[in-house]
């Protein structure tokens, strides 16, 4: 650890207040009953009719007024410039409440704009701070996470025309702009494209998670003005933003995981079999202790990764991959136990645990699961294969 790294991850009273306010707001405004009503009132509507999943736009407006879209925007660009550890703690609260919102998508796009650093990017950062929602459109049809891969081509020198399709775009129906990666020869460009621009076609993906939307976004000769080309070194920009993206999704996983743990613990305290609460039995108690251990490991790694990002530590990517690996695995384990230990009721639509199970499962895969992260980490720890 370098000497400049704060012992407390930089988590001071400002960050604590921000987190606690978010928790309070969501406790009040997104209780589990309301969430169910919003996203899971009827499985037929959700999965068969292809309606967009619900979200609370009035609540989101409050969040924007509280500055949530500006959290990761530097103060000089008009944002709040909160430390990464504060953002992680706030996103945990969002995960704990399974909040459907464009927050994480917008944060991830913000990190990319921030790394691009161009005048064009700074202008867009200001708009995001003012409440414009954004999402990344950077994934090809195979679902690969490599920064160089894209199925979109850019033609032209200053202003460009985009042709092609991006896949697995998160909360595309909530985002007002897409940050699109596109190939121009060997270069990867990053372009800001309004979701209602001429030639943009958003096709809804049918997904399991009820707390977000996802889309395949096609670009049919979409014109992008020169001032909306925010980076011509897009692969490098994405790589620089990657630690923050991984850390944010990991924080959401820690939040859902903590809710799953606490909810299953409560059930184990109240559900009686053989004249005792089932939490008496070690076959129930020990897996819950193990789930806590895994979630805590992931949380500590998330805070460390966040702190390294704030400090500009060159090892931030390594620690963010560790965090995503630990958070994905912890999420998988606690999800598994949350269904199993609820028994028969846990297998039904009426029990809340599946909402969190699905959000967690989605986040485990997003930007690479544990195995994916460890394959990258192995090159760091052991050197490349055959070396």
């Amino acid at each position: 650890m370098s000497e400049s790294m704060p012992k407390d991850y930089g988590f001071g009273s400002d960050e604590e207040m921000l987190r606690d306010l978010a928790g309070k707001l969501l406790d009040d405004e997104m209780p589990i009953e309301k969430l169910r009503q919003l996203v899971a009132a009827d499985p037929a509507t959700t999965y068969e009719s292809g309606q967009l999943p619900g979200w609370d736009q009035a609540l989101w407006k409050q969040c924007v007024e509280l500055g949530w879209t500006g959290l990761a925007v530097p103060e000089e660009a008009g944002g709040v410039g909160v430390k990464m550890v504060g953002i992680a703690a706030l996103v945990e609260e969002v995960g704990k409440h399974c909040l459907p919102s464009p927050l994480v998508a917008t944060l991830n796009a913000t990190y990319v704009l921030r790394e691009a650093g161009s005048d064009e990017a700074i202008t867009w950062l200001g708009r995001v701070a003012d409440g414009t929602t954004a999402t990344l459109a950077i994934t090809d049809s195979t679902g690969a996470w490599e920064a160089e891969r894209t199925d979109v081509a850019a033609a032209g020198n200053d202003a460009v025309t985009l042709t092609g399709t991006t896949y697995f775009v998160q909360d595309a129906f909530k985002a007002e702009i897409f940050l699109v990666s596109a190939k121009r020869g060997q270069e990867v460009l990053l372009c800001a494209v309004r979701s209602d621009a001429q030639g943009v076609e958003i096709r809804q993906d049918h997904i399991h998670d009820l707390t977000r939307d996802q889309a395949t976004v096609a670009f049919h000769e979409v014109s992008v003005a020169a001032e909306d080309v925010i980076s011509t070194a897009g692969a490098e920009t994405l790589r620089c933003a990657w630690p923050a993206i991984l850390t944010t999704v990991s924080a959401d996983l820690c939040g859902t995981g903590e809710w799953q743990l606490q909810t299953t613990v409560e059930y184990a305290k109240t559900r009686k079999q053989f004249d005792r609460p089932i939490g008496f039995f070690q076959a129930v108690k020990h897996p819950l202790s193990n789930a806590m251990i895994e979630i805590d490991r992931a949380r500590s790694l998330v805070y460390h990764a966040a702190c390294c990002i704030d400090a500009g530590d060159p090892e931030a990517e390594k620690f963010a991959r560790m965090a995503k690996s630990a958070a994905s695995d912890a999420g998988r384990f606690v999800s598994d136990r949350s269904i199993q230990l609820h028994g028969g009721i846990g297998f039904t639509w009426e029990c809340d645990v599946h909402l969190y199970f699905k959000r967690s499962m989605h986040n485990q895969a997003l930007f690479g699961d544990g195995v994916h992260q460890r394959r990258h980490l192995a090159n760091h720890t052991l050197g490349p294969i055959g070396n």
Binding site: K7, S289, R374, L382
Partner: protein, 399 residues
């Protein structure tokens, strides 16, 4: 690491310089992996001599009050431990004295007891062992059968203690014994019991699965101990024992002990994988082995960050949630590392340490077998998971 205060920086500099200038000659005999496995007199002498030297240099007991033989500082011991770990100097032999007896006596002892016992714990002049476990009192520790009966100013001890590490070198034992049969918990008292050459005390070796005689059983037959050696009140033994276990289980800052092999355990696995072959490729090129090693690296970093986060109250919703995990996570970390080392060594893991072809002097299979000492001792990890479920998560009690 946050900025250290000036005097702490000076101490760090001093510790670094002292350790550089006083690095001991390498031992002429093979050293065990942990101090609890010190078996021979040459091993003991080497480690006892080293602890005496670092104590005299102020690197052990730095935070203890000066009137009890300490350095009278605050926050120095962590620095000394870090520096000893970094320098890779020998371990502290008096682990029971340092990490269990001294902190317990500091909390519960009389002024006279603190003055009499703590200096010898720190300097390793007096080696300590622990007498908590009995054949019928393992996980159910309060089921103590060893009795202490009052006889004037003395107590008469009768009973049988087991798994007594370092008993064969110990001058003293921290002992819990039953002073009343009427109450299970409140019938226990805590004694500082003389062992070495003491009438009525027999120390006999118990042989571990490795074939090494790592610990002992201790038999008491009408053995006397003065009432001066009772720690805290009659019937308070369980409470005092809980203090000891808090220190033993790592929930509090210990008084010293760095040393051993300073190579990071994950790096040792990487080194082993680079010189182990399977199907014509190095294990370090095998994707499954790579994944397994990286998993160890993630757990290692997680342990480190848990220790850091435990000191940030705003990021911990329950004060004991992280400290109570440490015994489980650190003992299983060591066990999984050793098990993976055995796996990577492949056919060569079959070789005992005396075989010259054994990788890392036969470290991996022995470390693996010895690791069960840590997953069982100080409350088995199953008991620890009960404690986590009950005390932190609030699940109903198993007993």
């Amino acid at each position: 690491m946050a900025k250290l205060a000036t005097e702490q920086l000076e101490f760090q500099e001093y510790a670094r310089r002292w350790l550089e200038g006083n690095r001991p000659a390498p031992p002429t005999v093979r050293m065990p992996i942990t101090p609890l496995e010190v078996m021979t007199i040459p091993q003991r002498d080497y480690l006892q001599d080293w602890q005496g030297k670092v104590y005299a240099a102020g690197l052990v007991g730095a935070d203890y009050p000066t009137e009890y033989g300490g350095g009278g500082h605050e926050g120095f011991q962590r620095i000394a431990n870090q520096e000893m770990g970094r320098a890779g100097t020998p371990m502290m032999i008096n682990i029971v004295g340092l990490n269990m007896a001294a902190p317990t006596i500091l909390v519960h002892g009389t002024e006279a007891q603190k003055k009499k016992f703590i200096p010898g714990c720190l300097s390793a002049e007096e080696i300590w062992c622990q007498g908590f476990s009995e054949p019928g009192a393992g996980s159910d520790m309060a089921n103590q059968q060893t009795s202490a009966d009052r006889d004037g100013d003395d107590w008469i001890i009768n009973g049988h203690k087991v798994w007594t590490s370092l008993g064969h070198f110990a001058k003293w034992m921290i002992l819990i014994a039953r002073t009343s049969k009427a109450h299970k918990y409140d019938g226990l008292s805590y004694f500082l019991m003389p062992i070495e050459g003491h009438p009525g005390v027999t120390v006999r070796p118990l042989v571990k699965i490795t074939g090494e005689a790592g610990f002992n059983e201790v038999l008491f037959e009408d053995s006397r101990v003065s009432d001066d050696c009772r720690l805290d009140d009659i019937g308070k033994g369980w409470t005092v024992a809980m203090t000891t276990l808090t220190y033993e289980r790592g929930a509090a800052e210990s008084a010293g002990g760095g040393g051993g092999d300073s190579t990071h355990p994950v790096q040792r696995l990487v080194n082993l994988a680079k010189e182990s072959w399977r199907d014509g490729i190095r294990a370090s090129d095998d994707p499954l082995t790579r994944d397994a090693i990286v998993q160890r690296a993630i757990v290692a970093e997680g342990l480190k960050q848990n220790a850091r986060r435990a000191r940030v109250p705003g990021l911990c919703e329950h004060p004991m949630r992280l400290p109570l995990q440490q015994k489980v996570t650190s003992s299983e970390f060591a066990q999984e590392n050793a098990r993976l080392g055995v796996e990577i060594a492949g056919a060569r893991s079959t070789l005992y340490k005396l075989d010259e072809a054994a990788p890392d002097q036969g470290h991996w299979p022995l470390a693996y077998m010895n690791s069960y000492g840590h997953t069982i001792a100080a409350g088995t990890n199953e008991i620890q998971r009960n404690i986590l479920g009950e005390r932190v998560l609030g699940l109903p009690k198993s007993k």
